[in-house]
Symmetry: none
Subunit: 240 residues, 2 copies
């Protein structure tokens, strides 16, 4: 019996090879993929084949062509579960991104903090530590947060390093176990001052998330108010 030669077209094999680099994170969202000319040179193919390779990757949703600028790895939306207590850090790692954080401001509010979440007013007695941070995935700004942390429950927390997960600090340094998070999701147009942080020129829709985090019944550990960019995030929810 003769062996059947499998006729897989060259454009397909090469597009799969480049997609493999995206999957493995060698090419990350926002990065330019090889141009038509680069493909012709590196893979020794015709310009028709090179064009087919780029079209194949685009129609499969891996890349997007920006007129006059090139072809780029797409920003795949990050999915965030709203049913699980989940740190930004863990969420990003799960999606194959490298999380990082820039602390913008930190100060003590001696009078405390209070806000309404899901039709109930929560009051945090002072002192409260207010911290303003910008969170990145692979150096792309994803989320801007203001968190109000109980200094009654976490004395001296202002002396910690805030460039990682706060949830980690609560657990490791204060042995506080997070029991529940209540959040309220709104959709807003990103305002001018936020656009600046996200390196955006034009306003886009964003999620405004206001939340309260408990560490035991009726014990408010922190409250927060965060802006998640709408072009990057989706939320998954499960109702029963």
């Amino acid at each position: 019996m003769k062996r059947v030669k499998r006729n897989i077209p060259k454009y397909f094999t090469i597009s799969q090879e480049i997609i493999g680099k995206i999957r493995k994170g060698k090419l990350t969202p926002g990065m330019k993929v090889p141009s038509e000319n680069n493909i012709i040179r590196d893979y020794k193919v015709s310009n028709t084949t090179a064009r087919k390779i780029l079209l194949e990757m685009e129609s499969a949703g891996w890349v997007t062509k920006i007129k006059g600028r090139g072809t780029f790895v797409r920003q795949s939306n990050v999915l965030r579960s709203a049913n699980r207590i989940l740190s930004f850090t863990k969420n990003m790692i799960d999606f194959g991104y490298k999380p990082s954080t820039k602390v913008l401001e930190g100060r003590i509010l001696h009078h405390g903090y209070s806000a309404v979440i899901n039709r109930r007013r929560y009051v945090m007695k002072g002192p409260v530590y207010k911290i303003h941070r910008l969170r990145f995935a692979d150096d792309v700004p994803m989320m801007l947060e203001v968190r109000y942390i109980s200094l009654v429950l976490c004395p001296d927390i202002e002396k910690q390093n805030f460039e990682g997960s706060l949830y980690n600090i609560y657990e490791k340094e204060y042995h506080l176990h997070l029991t529940e998070v209540h959040q309220m999701l709104s959709t807003v147009m990103m305002d001018k001052s936020s656009l600046h942080f996200f390196d955006l020129e034009d306003s886009i829709p964003a999620f405004l998330i206001e939340g309260v985090t408990f560490c035991g019944r009726e014990m408010v550990l922190e409250m927060d108010e965060s802006i998640y960019r709408g072009d990057m995030y989706r939320f998954s929810v499960r109702a029963t």
Copy 2:
């Protein structure tokens, strides 16, 4: 027999009166509601009662207090729980609105329907009934939905009256018990064709919600794709 005088507290009657003004649009989102002093003067009540009136309106979700500035009519006045299986009809009634529905289109898809929700593809075998509806609260268009219903599980459902709750039809007519809903929330700018349905001239941010509803393990009863106007809706979620 003496007639019993019903003892409705004054603070409640007055808060209902002011809420009535908001419902009727005499006070619109962003407008200031009477201050504590105005209430004391206009309604001839004590400052304790005036404070109770404002608190009552705030906890019912109609107004929000901004420190040092006053109390204002809230922007989005419907809160929808993403943790509970909840019909539009019940959600509106809970918020004191009269729900109504306009059926825009209904047709049978013989080939079935399929979509990706939260990174998993769900396939509904045909025939599937596709129904496009606009849902109102007190005659204000709130939500635009396309639902894909299994005709395998709900034979002849196309003959039903679709001006009320579909959940009701599933339960009463087909004795199907909804077990779980998985949803994916995105934020989008409302597109031109949707703006028309909502009687809006300019685009606003909206929630795009794609969901799958189960009636038993892995049994897909329906899938949907809905637009909730962002100026009216907020979602509440609870994570554990």
